[in-house]
Amino acid sequence: MSALRSTFSVEQLVARVLLAGGLLGIALVLLGLGLYAAHGGFHHHVLLLNRPPAGNPPGVFVSVRQVLDGLRRRPIEPLAVSALGLVLLMVTPVVAVAAAVPAFWWMGDRRYTIIAAVVLAMLVLSATLAGSVH
């Protein structure tokens, strides 16, 4: 166990989580765009660059439920796959901090276990507060 601890590094773990989250997120974004192209989306649709006065255009999801609905639909909604990738990308830093908490504890660094836990709690709190504003 102590030999494992001597080679383990919280930095490497956090780096791996960030890399894995980033790559998986981008893979889903690419997969969604690929499906969108295969369905002729790039040819058939016109991209609206201005926000409409009411409602949201295709490609804008405002909740995870909407994304999941798009994934359940048959045929699958390609942009929901990309949106899932974007969601994964956006939660990756939070997941990285969540992974750091037990990692610091396992390394016996109580001070940074607490600091990482406080950062995690603040991230969740501010995300919840921000999300509840709208």
């Binding site: 919280v10 930095e11 490497q12 956090v14 780096a15 960030l18 890399l19 989250g21 980033g22 997120g25 981008i26 974004v29 690419l30 765009l33 989306g41 790039f42 649709h45 016109v46 991209l47 660059l49 201005n50 926000r51 949201n56 255009p57 490609g59 804008v60 999801f61 405002v62 909740s63 942009l79 990309s82 949106a83 990738g85 974007l86 969601v87 990308l89 956006m90 939660v91 990756t92 830093p93 939070v94 901090v97 750091a100 001070r111 940074y112 600091i115 990482a116 406080v118 950062v119 603040m122 991230l123 709190l125 501010s126 995300a127 919840t128 507060l129 921000a130 999300g131 504003v133 709208h134």
Partner: protein, 282 residues
């Protein structure tokens, strides 16, 4: 503009923004938002939504690499981000209470002073060694990295920890009140106040900006500001750019990074003063 042409153009722009963001510790919003709105005609809300995705993608891509090479200091980043997020929460509560223009003017003047000090430090490759700060020892706010340019191990420890922590709180406060990213302020606080090597400052800022952006991403998402067809090419391009940026930055001198950073500080200082004075430039 067809979706295909738009996507390719945004992808190429985002590669550049990701590379610059990764080198300078910024989210890329300072570059992306004006380009998306002015050159591509994207709605400001969608541009801001794409920018928040860009910040997180730059941060994840760059920090993953910088944490492995020791340029980004995880403990320092976690310690300081407590001040930044607290500041952002307080700032969001104070928004609308404190006059924004006065704040912008104060911020512009503070940045002008920072630009002046950055000019004075332009030739300093590494900060002079000073006695260890007790809080830096207590919270283990130091480390070392192998500098590929200098071909040696560089050890460092944070100075003026209280000043740095207060500056990070201020950076968060301004972020919360003005709705601006604060990557540049984080870099300045670490470089100038805490006397950390410039490369450590920008690399650690890269890790921190991802956390603060993730905290506010849900507001953009629930508001409908994140358009998949705009944010997707941005995310892909920025991640590729961040990879290129980290490879480049590892081989740069600290003085080179500081020289590249200076125009950003000058631009931010001027734009804040102009906004604070209520001037409208064409």
């Amino acid at each position: 503009m067809s979706i295909t042409v738009f996507s390719i153009a945004v992808l190429a722009t985002s590669i550049g923004a990701g590379a610059v963001g990764a080198i300078l510790g910024l989210g890329g919003g300072i570059l992306l938002i004006p380009i998306l709105t002015v050159f591509y005609g994207v709605d400001l809300h969608y541009a801001m939504g794409a920018s928040i995705v860009s910040v997180i993608a730059t941060s994840s891509g760059a920090a993953a690499s910088y944490l492995r090479t020791g340029l980004s200091n995880l403990r320092l980043g976690l310690f300081l981000v407590i001040a930044t997020i607290t500041g952002a929460l307080v700032g969001a509560l104070l928004a609308g209470v404190v006059p924004v223009r006065v704040l912008e003017l104060i911020l512009g003047l503070a940045l002008s002073y920072s630009a002046f000090t950055t000019v004075k430090q332009l030739r300093d490759e590494l900060p002079e060694s000073l006695p260890d700060h007790p809080l830096a020892l207590r919270f283990d706010l130091g480390g070392s990295y192998h500098d590929l340019r200098l071909q040696r191990e560089v050890a460092y420890r944070a100075q003026r920890v209280v000043h740095g922590f207060a500056a990070m709180f201020g950076a968060g406060l301004l972020s919360g009140m003005l709705g601006i990213g604060s990557g540049a302020f984080k870099v300045l606080a670490m470089d100038y106040l805490m006397r950390l090597p410039m490369k450590v400052s920008t690399a650690t800022s890269n890790f921190m900006i991802g956390l603060t952006a993730a905290a506010s991403a849900s507001i953009y998402w629930s508001r409908g500001d994140i358009h998949t067809l705009i944010a997707a090419p941005v995310a892909i391009g920025v991640l590729v750019g961040a990879y290129l940026g980290t490879t480049l930055m590892a081989r740069m001198r600290n003085t080179t990074v500081r020289k590249l950073f200076l125009p950003i500080v000058v631009y931010l200082a001027l734009s804040m003063i102009v906004r604070g004075l209520g001037l409208h430039l064409p």
